[in-house]
């Protein structure tokens, strides 16, 4: 019996980790600046490629993953400085600009690197409960997703940077008047967002085929999680991921991956009819 319970938890954890890791970076950028980074998938791809490149050079996997996340973060800060910065007052244009960037990056990678790179296998290791065998790495991914949520909670709720950035999120002009360097806050937040995207790519790099268009695999999940989460990212993203993971897991188990994805999309379309502001609006109202 406990084996079945654990099996359900394991499947839930797998989907939940995927949703949180792919959406966290996008959610932070959207929550702070109201910008949807259409090049999110390309930062994920960047994290995966850097990881695999470093591992093939002989760097241990965990260190390669951390370095990959940092690389994506630094590139993110650069992109913010060169492009995104100009569009904070025109969120729709930021969508288009980052989409243009995404096209440039994906297609240049196809031109330069070619379609496939030698991958690195999933780290071995499995354990058995009852009659079932489970992969350890999938649980590591779940632990990482929880750690990302905990880390974001600490950064945004317990540090000075968190206070200033939440103030900026609430009222940028007022925060600026009180001496917060909002420009720098935005740059750092964008860097954190793309760094998290890089981390997602780094963590999933061992489990999938590396192609320049791999970012597209993650964007649907990250989009719908952010849409359901709503504007208050710190409150909304985790519950949204829990809800979507339950729907997805139930459908995956009985009908397979693609029906799971379609079902998740249908659920999202139904949910926005009732809760256009996302889950966080309900939670914020309850909290008052």
């Amino acid at each position: 019996m406990s084996a079945e319970v654990f099996s359900v938890f394991y499947q839930f954890a797998d989907v939940f980790a995927f949703l949180i890791l792919s959406a966290a970076g996008l959610a932070i950028v959207f929550g702070m600046m109201g910008v949807i980074n259409m090049a999110h998938g390309e930062f994920i791809m960047c994290g995966a490629y850097v990881t695999v490149g470093l591992v093939n050079l002989g760097v241990p996997l965990a260190i390669a993953q951390i370095l990959a996340a940092l690389t994506a973060g630094l590139i993110g800060v650069l992109v913010e400085f060169l492009v995104v910065r100009r569009f904070y007052k025109r969120p729709l244009d930021s969508l288009l600009a980052t989409w243009g960037l995404s096209l440039i990056v994906t297609q240049s990678m196809l031109l330069i690197v070619g379609s496939a790179v030698r991958g690195i296998g999933t780290p071995e290791g499995s354990f058995a409960i009852g009659g079932y065998t489970f992969s350890t790495y999938r649980l590591v991914l779940f632990a990482c997703a929880v750690a990302v949520l905990a880390g974001l909670y600490i950064i945004f709720m317990k540090t000075r940077f968190g206070v200033i950035s939440r103030a900026t999120m609430q009222n940028a002009a007022m925060a600026k008047a009180l001496g917060a360097r909002t420009g720098r806050i935005y740059a750092i937040s964008f860097g954190i967002g793309t760094g998290l995207a890089g981390l997602c790519g780094a963590l999933y790099a061992p489990t999938m085929t590396l192609i320049p268009t791999m970012g597209a695999t993650f964007v649907v999940e990250s989009f719908v999680t952010v849409v359901i989460g709503g504007a208050n990212v710190l409150l909304g993203t985790a519950p949204a991921a829990v809800l979507l993971a339950i729907i997805r897991m139930a459908l995956n188990a009985s009908y397979g991956q693609i029906i799971g994805q379609i079902g998740m999309l249908v659920a999202v379309i139904l949910i926005i009819r009732v809760l256009p502001e996302g889950l966080s609006s309900v939670l914020v109202r309850r909290g008052r």
Partner: protein, 357 residues
């Protein structure tokens, strides 16, 4: 009715504009007489996509709804045409298949649009929800490779795409080559003029008022959601028309014409051209399609990199669109050298643009 062809929502009026319109039309009609059939077929191929661009122009430029789902409805109607044409057995039935597949795309747009618009989704979220739906359709069709995936006798064939449907046919006569080209030209003229009438009509004014300020339009007593849904259904239906014509033109369709990067293309055409005007979109989209096709022959990736760069450059340098921007520049230059009334078309371009920025 004909008075609605000109109005405050569209650029171009008077004798100069309409005579140049007729000159271009005459050029387009005589083109097959002195070009070889391969080039005519290619030309017809560019024209397929114009409907999709005009539809997006209506939704985004006039309605203020940035839909990233043009290829979703393109795909629904494209696959719809294939399934219907194969199952109904070709012949004149293909004309019915074309109409039904466009209706199918419009019904799908109506359903998706109802949930989004009545849910109050707008702005950025409108874009990413439509894009999510588009990508999910592409993923779904990409994994329908097995023989168990069929609708009637039409195999979906996964990533390799569906093939084997008849092109548009009347009796025993296949509408191909230069006949298809003429059908395409006729459809574009009809759609272009009809859209001009639509946006200059009372309905069009409400659509534009909703773009400018939804609350104000609502206070004036209009149920803006109905107008938005109408706009979305028409715009998406035009994407469906492109899709059905595309399948008929090449007798195949694959999921890659739905997913990324295909989904970005209509956005780039319309953004580059100038989304706030139908004529600018028509001209600009055609130029971009022509240029893109020329470069794609050498390297598809390079062409797509260029398209991405073009989108980035448009948003950074000329957010209203390059074709409109150049129109304005030319108008300034022209009116600096000549008397103003000699170029009412261009002067109008400049006027509208300065109002919007």
């Amino acid at each position: 009715m004909l008075k609605l062809l000109e109005g405050p929502q569209t650029l171009g009026r008077g004798k100069v504009f309409w005579s140049s319109f007729l000159v271009v039309l005459a050029g387009a009609l005589t083109y097959p007489l002195f070009a070889d059939s391969y080039d005519v077929g290619n030309f017809a191929y560019f024209l397929i996509w114009i409907f999709m661009a005009l539809g997006l122009c209506l939704m985004w430029g006039y309605g203020g709804m940035l839909s990233f789902g043009q290829t979703l409805f393109f795909g629904i109607a494209g696959y719809g045409y294939g399934v219907l044409a194969i199952n109904m057995g070709g012949g004149t039935a293909t004309i019915v298949a074309l109409m039904l597949s466009v209706v199918l795309a419009m019904v799908a747009a109506g359903i998706l649009g109802y949930f989004m618009i009545w849910g109050g989704i707008s702005g950025i979220f409108f874009g990413i929800v439509t894009l999510s739906a588009t990508l999910v359709l592409a993923f779904f069709l990409g994994q329908t490779a097995g023989p168990e995936w069929h609708i009637g006798s039409a195999r979906l064939n996964g990533f390799n795409g569906m093939k084997g449907m008849d092109p548009l046919t009347v009796g025993d006569f296949f509408i191909e080559g230069s006949t298809l080209y003429y059908v395409m030209i006729a459809l574009i003229v009809i759609v272009y003029l009809a859209l001009r009438m639509l946006v200059n009509s009372g309905i069009g004014n409400v659509i534009v008022a909703t773009r400018e300020n939804p609350q104000r339009a609502e206070m004036l007593g209009y149920d803006v959601r109905k107008y938005q849904l109408l706009t979305f259904v028409i715009g998406s239906g035009l994407a469906g028309l492109s899709g059905a014509l595309y399948t008929s033109w090449g007798q195949f369709i694959t999921p890659s014409s739905i997913g990324l990067p295909a989904a970005a293309m209509p956005i780039i055409w319309v953004a580059f051209s100038g989304r706030s005007d139908l004529t600018a979109t028509l001209v600009g989209s055609f130029l971009l399609l022509f240029g893109f096709q020329t470069i794609t022959v050498y390297s598809q990736q390079a062409a797509l990199v260029l398209m991405g760069a073009l989108l980035l450059a448009t948003v950074m340098l000329a957010p209203q669109g390059f074709v409109l921007g150049i129109g304005k520049f030319a108008a300034d230059w022209w009116s600096g050298h000549r008397r103003r009334e000699e170029s009412p078309v261009m002067a109008e371009a400049g006027r509208l643009q300065s109002e919007e920025t």
